[in-house]
């Protein structure tokens, strides 16, 4: 231990431990957050090598300006129809989140996670990718499914682990798997999907396929070793993959400083591997679209991987299991200068005369109604804890392709137990 050692003439070291700027009760002031104006960031040609635009990892790609106009070289020039479709998807995601959150609070299921304030990140990506590009999401990209037109009822069935649940109640709510929507099975273990996405992309390249892969993780999750393995593999084999880092500034109760945000941006991680890096306004649906389309073009033309940091803010708690009021200032969400992605896209559509408040209100109502109807339909299949929704013996399906003797024995044992219980099959 230090006391009896030489070198006492040197100044003592001290341990730095990050601290977020605001804690419960603090008044929030984000004036220090530097936000480059929309339209300013340059857009390199997709054929340019990664080292030619490392500045973009410290910049912020923004398209929607304060007047709701789409400006600058990243403007993806989408048709009003597409913009309206995107808006609709985002509104649907939000309505879905609200209902399912409430359903959990009503005891209809065990768990839920919202993506409020981050809807653009997933929805715009889904619009910019081809529908058969393979997505390796984390748990906060329900927007991908919604934007790909996947059935809300099917998603809710999964959340309720009911008899309509294709995953047979095996997974925690929201851990979807939708092969038909090119949406990979979500894992509870953070960032494991990153090297998997690279593997899928490498396989696609090896086969001369044209489909690319995209992966998502939170800024907190970038600390896992899998992130590094993935970036290294992607760099070495120039894999056609898009890495999305959703920097919503919080990882449960830990602010992004514990993932390294005080030292640099998350987009800068790309520079470390010599791969392309972009930092994007994650609350700007057009910027996310443009960045994704650009990265997809690079991937599809064998220019290799791109890492996109989506700078956004987690408006709600981490999940139904925590209360953010215990660790951060309640004022952050409203003070956050990048605004709300739904409002911003709506304002843009209004600014270009392709939308109005009345239509928006009407759509809100219509979508709320649709989500409510979906919920009703899903609940007709059952809710968690009310009855046995899956045949008991499905518990043993899918451990292996064919069930070995020890699982068959255990399956028989379980069925005998149910009989012995005197209330067979009604246990749940």
């Amino acid at each position: 231990m230090p006391s009896d050692r030489p070198g006492a003439n040197l100044p003592p070291l001290s341990l730095y431990v990050p601290e977020p700027r605001f804690r419960p009760g603090d008044t929030v002031d984000f004036t220090e957050v530097v936000l480059p104006p929309a339209g300013q960031a340059r857009r390199p040609d997709t054929a340019e090598p990664a080292h030619a635009f490392t500045d973009l990892a410290y910049d912020l790609v923004r398209v929607l300006d304060t007047d709701g106009q789409a400006v600058g070289p990243w403007n993806p020039r989408l048709s009003p129809d597409t913009l309206r479709d995107m808006l609709r998807s985002m509104v649907t995601v939000r309505a879905f989140d609200e209902r399912m959150f409430r359903a959990q609070r009503q005891g209809k299921t065990s768990f839920y996670m919202k993506c409020t304030g981050e809807e653009a990140v997933a929805v715009s990506a889904a619009f910019a990718l081809d529908r058969d590009d393979m997505c390796f999401p984390s748990y906060r990209q329900q927007g991908l499914l919604v934007a790909r037109g996947w059935s809300l009822v099917d998603m809710m069935n999964q959340i309720y682990s009911n008899k309509g649940d294709r995953l047979q109640g095996k997974q925690l709510p929201i851990m979807y798997s939708v092969r038909d929507a090119s949406f990979f099975s979500i894992s509870g273990n953070l960032t494991t999907q990153y090297p998997q996405a690279v593997g899928w992309a490498m396989a696609s390249a090896a086969k001369g396929d044209t489909r690319i892969a995209a992966a998502w993780c939170g800024e907190g999750s970038t600390a896992e070793g899998d992130f590094h393995s993935a970036c290294t593999f992607a760099s070495v084999y120039r894999a056609p993959v898009i890495f999305n880092v959703v920097n919503n500034q919080w990882a449960i109760s830990s602010f992004s400083g514990f993932a390294g945000a005080e030292a640099t941006t998350f987009a800068a991680r790309a520079i470390g591997y010599g791969i392309a890096g972009l930092r994007v306004d994650g609350n700007d649906a057009l910027a996310v679209y443009a960045a994704t389309a650009w990265a997809a073009e690079r991937a599809r033309t064998n220019q290799g991987p791109t890492l996109i940091e989506h700078f956004t803010y987690r408006v709600e708690g981490h999940s139904t299991s925590d209360d953010p009021g215990q660790y951060r200032s309640a004022g952050e969400a409203s003070a956050w200068p990048l605004g709300d992605p739904v409002t911003r896209l709506k304002d843009h559509l209004i600014a270009i005369d392709e939308w109005d408040e009345d239509r928006h209100i009407a759509q809100d109502k219509e979508i709320a109604e649709m989500v409510r109807a979906a919920q009703k339909e899903a609940e007709a299949n059952g809710i968690l804890g009310h009855g046995l929704h899956q045949p008991l013996d499905t518990l043993f399906d899918g451990v292996f392709e064919e069930m070995p003797w020890h699982l068959r024995e255990q399956q028989a044992q379980m069925i005998a137990e149910e009989t012995a219980s005197g209330r067979p099959w009604a246990r749940k």
Binding site: G169, L172, D322
Partner: protein, 334 residues
């Protein structure tokens, strides 16, 4: 105290006594941990002794090993035992091997706390019981408490111990003991004698089991949540079982086990972890090797099934009263 408070108190007592003790992990600082086990510690001991970490379990354990080599006594938390796998190499190849490979020059006096086990609808990645992976690894101790009183005393012993110790906390009984009937109301620890936890320092030695019920008819080897489930089943069945709460899996209290089985001639082993290669297999092998000529019936293992922990069918997976009761009949037969 409930078990969370007891665990918190153990860290508090040790941080107060020994400036080398530090607490680290995902969300353990300001927030006090997702289960609140470290609540208040940062406010009391400061950020350099209690701090949040990046989300890399490999890093958390690797850093803890380095701190241990310096002379600190880190108490890292792994948020759920299901997330310990990314740290496996640092635990197995480093923490567990350091004393041996350096012939004692460097040691890893770290205590890794992690909530484990199911029964909270956590699905397959918030429910696992991976103790059987670690009990196979030489150089690591594995401790599992079943009450607040034991949790505090064992955690203090683990922190003082100079070997790397895994401290798995049965999260299903954080707030109260659980009799295995998921559809009946649960007790609080305040209603249980082992909920009476002294404020100050005390310790329960590692490697000593606790005979929670003496009996003559059979021996039940059990730990964690299943201590309470087994006790409830035995009470209901009116069988004169000797129930041994192992408390420490490695090193194991073989004397107590051996004496008991030699007395009763029958043995049942219960754990929530998957069956094949679980710690129950080792217990069964040991009992068979040492008490062969005393056994009157086959040793029964009652365990979780060899599947991932399912979400909606979790009570079908859980080795509850019915499964234990069936096994009891078998082991008591003839």
């Amino acid at each position: 105290m409930n078990m969370i408070q007891a665990i918190n108190s153990a860290m508090d007592v040790m941080m107060d006594r020994d400036p080398a003790v530090i607490v680290m992990g995902e969300d353990v600082g300001y927030f006090g941990g997702v289960f609140r086990a470290t609540a208040g510690l940062q406010a009391k001991y400061g950020k350099t002794r209690v701090f949040d970490t990046p989300i890399t379990e490999c890093g958390i354990i690797g850093v803890a090993v380095g701190m241990g080599a310096y002379g600190l006594r880190p108490v890292p938390e792994i948020q759920f035992a299901d997330y310990i796998y990314p740290a496996l190499d640092q635990l197995v190849s480093e923490a567990a091997r350091l004393r041996y490979r350096s012939a004692g020059e460097f040691i890893a006096p770290i205590t890794v706390r992690s909530p484990f086990g199911g029964g909270i609808f956590g699905g397959q990645t918030h429910s696992q019981s991976p103790e059987g992976i670690f009990t196979h690894v030489s150089g690591i101790k594995t401790v599992i408490p079943s009450t607040p009183y034991d949790a505090k005393g064992l955690l203090i012993a683990a922190i003082e111990d100079n070997d790397p110790t895994l401290f798995f906390e049965p999260k299903r009984i954080y707030n109260g003991p659980f009799d295995g009937h998921w559809d009946r109301p649960t007790q609080n620890w305040s209603q249980h004698p082992a909920g009476a936890v002294p404020e100050g320092y005390y310790k329960i030695p590692l490697g000593k089991a606790n005979v929670v019920r003496e009996g003559e008819a059979l021996t039940i080897l059990v730990y964690g949540t299943m201590v309470h489930v087994a006790s409830a089943v035995i009470a209901d069945a009116g069988v004169d079982a000797e129930i041994i709460d192992l408390r420490t899996l490695v090193p194991l209290d073989i004397e107590t086990i051996e004496a008991s089985v030699k007395k009763t001639g029958r043995c049942m082993i219960i754990h929530e972890a998957t069956r094949t290669g679980g710690f129950g297999a080792e217990l069964s092998a040991l009992v068979q090797e040492r008490c062969f000529y005393h056994l009157e019936a086959p040793i029964e293992r009652v365990t979780g099934f060899d599947t991932p922990y399912p979400h909606s069918l979790e009570w079908a997976y859980f080795p509850g009263p019915v499964r234990i009761g069936e096994a009891l009949k078998k082991v008591m037969k003839d």
